[in-house]
């Protein structure tokens, strides 16, 4: 409605939401087609993804322009902060579902499968153990009592995962350092801090990709490797996906910083990305402890 600093900024009618909805329709429809072997599924998904990209550029571009032209007052800024924090809250609960599955399997279902009537009647001789039961005659494991479950070796915590933990923790620190730079209006510190953070983030992603490759080709650890493989890949996979999102946000923030956006007293975009990054960090700690280590 207006760019007046005194009143709350009410945006003009916008085309971007409906574009986003159409993108999702194509993405979801295409995905359904693809996994059901209907032709054109992949194409449809590509169209959806392309439209989604257009929408993201258009929508965020508009928000950034509005912000830089000073149309937002403190109250609008607070709206963004609040909504970003509750968005992160909802993300935490998304991960909670998968952590819940992990705990349920470790504490309840796997032991049940290996005890009393269930074991005697249905899965004779199954020995419950986490991450898996030693397959007779090998030093590999299987997760779950079914016949023909794939054999695998579990992922050790003290190789790449430990390095990745260090990388992520460091990146949290460097990002905070960049933030201090922004608060002091020290551009160089901001930009250098962001660049270092992004390099760390990219190395995390690279190492994670390497780890997956190692798991699939050498350890026999796949999505199909019983409940251990399922929880391992879904948790680390969704985390990795969030790291990629976070990295993209940081890259956008770097470009904006180079362009001279953000002021010491108004830089919600930067802070939102930073919160997100710290959230990704914390989730990783949970992963490291419960998926890799214990």
């Amino acid at each position: 409605m207006s760019g007046n600093k005194d009143s709350y900024y009410l945006p003009e009618p916008s085309i971007w939401p409906i574009v986003g909805s159409l993108a999702l329709l194509f993405l979801a429809g295409g995905f359904v087609m693809k996994i059901n072997n209907i032709s054109m599924g992949g194409m449809t998904m590509l169209v959806g993804a392309a439209v989604l990209l257009v929408m993201l550029f258009g929508w965020f571009g508009q928000v950034i322009r509005e912000s830089e032209s000073g149309m937002y007052n403190k109250q609008v800024d607070r709206s963004y902060r609040l909504s970003m924090s509750w968005f992160i809250f909802s993300e935490v609960l998304f991960f909670a579902a998968f952590f819940g599955a992990l705990f349920y399997a470790r504490v309840l279902s796997v032991p049940w499968l290996g005890s009393s009537d269930t074991m005697e009647q249905l899965w004779p001789h199954f020995v419950a153990a986490w991450p898996g039961t030693v397959a007779p005659g090998t030093d590999q494991l299987v997760s779950g009592p079914g016949a023909n479950m794939p054999k695998f070796s579990p992922m050790s915590a003290w190789g790449i995962p430990a390095i990745n933990t260090l990388i992520l923790l460091t990146s949290g620190a460097t990002l905070t350092w960049a933030h201090w730079g922004l608060l002091k209006n020290n551009r160089t510190q901001l930009i250098v801090g962001l660049i270092v953070t992004i390099i760390l983030a990219l190395s995390f992603i690279g190492l994670q990709a390497f780890e997956y490759h190692h798991a699939y080709t050498e350890l026999g650890l796949t999505l199909g490797a019983g409940i251990y493989g399922a929880t391992f890949f879904m948790l680390t996979g969704f985390h990795g996906f969030h790291v990629m999102l976070g990295t993209t946000m940081l890259i956008v923030m770097l470009i904006r910083s180079i362009k001279g956006h953000f002021k010491p007293d108004s830089h919600f975009g930067f802070e939102g990305a930073a919160w997100y990054w710290h959230f990704v960090d914390v989730v990783w700690l949970g992963l490291f402890v419960f998926v890799y280590w214990l």
């Binding site: 945006p11 159409l22 359904v32 819940g100 349920y104 049940w112 479950m149």
Partner: protein
């Protein structure tokens, strides 16, 4: 007020691109009405098949599709969007805000719904038809569903996105946009109940998204979350689903409590009794609701200690809910009541929701639940809380605010007919289902043994009456939009919230300069 909207799009694009909370509220309400009719027609098909024993109209597979989609669409397409529509219209008006905090996002929350609805409705037409495993989506049966199984999973993802974004917006609006002087403990109860509901939504919708994602990977990507052969457990899905599902049923009732708590004081011409205990009761219900999920699973064979815990926790919810019921009655007590249609629906709500709550307590008692789980008693229970609960509250709220939304009074005579016929039709349809359940009729069956025949016939007749009566509602709404007696700023003598200080119909932009609340 004048500036800024000179180049607003008109025609269909006005609705597609709108960032106005009133437009978006209207869109939500219309969408929900359409979905209500669609799912209602599915229900009519169910009752038609169950009119007599034997298979008459639908094959068993088709019947299961009807039941499943009726449940899914009523919950996600009719009831929830209706309440979000109310929130869109009323929350900014009631707290003196110019609009929702994030208007563009608000538009997206709505326009995600038609996408999800397209996926759901289209799933009837793909090979194999719509999903037929119940709205609770239990695996392994869900693994046997065809393409529609995947369409439904994505529809749920998109519905979840819509709900989460919508809730974030509502929370932010309430925390950040209240007019000066509108402290939290001065907010109208409707705003409070939605505030708490929105928290429930962002807490549980992501969990549902996680659950259906695991289902997707189990179906197509070789994981074993819900398959014992790989160390998973089908019951694990039920735990995750109901961790969402039980709060979900309160998501569908808390805003209803808010509407009723607004209407009863208005027509009793007396302030709401126990405002702060209402707020605390709502919050306690929400918190408890996160701890009771397994009462839907008393028959899966969980450890005895778990059964006991979930029984006690579930029964405890009767206490805060009771506080609400008592407060409503105390509000009526010594009032000066009149009985316009909104008040009639509100009283109908209090009477019948309480009855549904009572049968909930019966079900919470584990041994009795063992006898009644998955029987028609449960169907009766949840239609009492959902139809004569949530839906009646939606009707009450619609009649109450229609004058503000349209600028016209609705037709009181037709409104009263709508209420009384609904009341009769509803009870005839669903009261006998208690007896069916007690006598041992399972739910989700297309055909039944002969001793269930008479009550089923009565139930179907009631359902047809109830269904046909809903056409009256549409007539009332259309008439009210097109004309009728002019409504003043405050058509209800006893109303005192902020929306009644602006003209009727409410102008496109309200409270551009915030009002001050004493």
């Amino acid at each position: 007020m004048e500036h800024g909207h000179d180049h607003h799009p008109s025609g269909i694009m006005r609705w597609v691109k709108t960032t106005n909370h009133k437009d978006i509220g209207t869109l939500y309400l219309l969408f929900s009405l359409v979905m209500f009719f669609f799912a209602g027609i599915l229900a009519m098909c169910i009752r038609l098949e169950l009119f007599q024993p034997g298979l008459q109209f639908f094959q068993p597979g088709t019947f299961n599709q009807l039941t499943t989609m009726h449940g899914l669409i009523m919950v996600f397409g009719a009831i929830m969007p209706a309440f979000v529509g109310f929130a869109n219209w009323q929350v900014p008006l009631m707290i003196g805000a110019p609009d929702m905090a994030l208007p563009r996002l608000n538009n997206w929350s709505f326009w995600l719904l038609p996408v999800a609805a397209t996926l759901l409705v289209a799933s009837f037409f793909v090979p194999g038809g719509a999903i037929a495993g119940g709205w609770t989506l239990y695996p392994p049966l869900y693994m046997q569903q065809g393409i529609s199984g995947d369409m439904t999973i994505f529809a749920i993802h998109i519905l979840g996105m819509s709900s989460i974004l919508g809730s974030i917006n509502i929370i932010t609006t309430i925390m950040n946009m209240r007019a000066p002087g509108m402290t939290y403990m001065k907010m109208p109860l409707f705003v409070w109940t939605w505030f708490i509901t929105a928290y429930l939504l962002i807490a549980v919708m992501p969990v549902l998204a996680g659950a259906v994602t695991m289902m997707l990977t189990d179906r197509h990507f070789d994981t074993h979350f819900f398959n014992a052969a790989g160390g998973g457990d089908p019951v694990m899905f039920q735990h995750i689903f109901w961790f969402f599902g039980h709060p979900e049923v309160y998501i569908m009732i808390l805003p209803a409590f808010g509407i009723i708590s607004t209407i009863i004081p208005t027509f009793a011409r007396k302030p709401l009794f126990g405002y702060s205990s209402m707020v605390y009761a709502t919050a306690s219900i929400a918190i408890l609701s996160l701890l009771v999920w397994a009462h839907h699973m008393f028959t899966v064979g969980m450890p005895t200690a778990a059964q006991l815990f979930f029984m006690y926790a579930t029964m405890l919810i009767a206490v805060p809910t009771g506080v609400k019921v008592f407060n409503w009655i105390a509000t009526m007590w010594q009032g000066s009541m009149t009985f316009e249609t909104p008040m009639l629906f509100a009283i109908g709500f209090v009477a019948l929701f309480t009855l549904g709550g009572f049968t909930g307590i019966v079900l919470a008692i584990v041994p009795v639940d063992i006898a009644l789980q998955d029987s028609y008693y449960v169907v009766a229970h949840f239609h009492y809380v959902l139809v004569s609960g949530s839906l009646f509250a939606i009707f009450a709220g619609a009649y109450y605010w229609l004058p503000k939304w349209t600028g016209h009074m609705y037709n009181e005579t037709l409104g009263k007919w709508h209420f009384w016929l609904s009341m009769v039709g509803f009870n005839v349809a669903f009261f006998p289902q208690h007896f069916l359940g007690l006598a041992g009729m399972p739910r989700r069956i297309p055909d039944y043994a002969l001793q269930f025949a008479d009550f089923n016939m009565i139930s179907s007749l009631g359902a047809f009456l109830f269904g046909a009566t809903q056409l009256l509602f549409v007539i009332v709404v259309i008439k009210c939009i097109r004309g009728g007696a002019k409504a003043g700023n405050k058509p209800w003598e006893g109303a005192d919230t902020l929306e009644w200080t602006v003209p009727s119909p409410a102008p496109y932009h309200t409270f551009a300069t915030p009002p001050t609340v004493k």
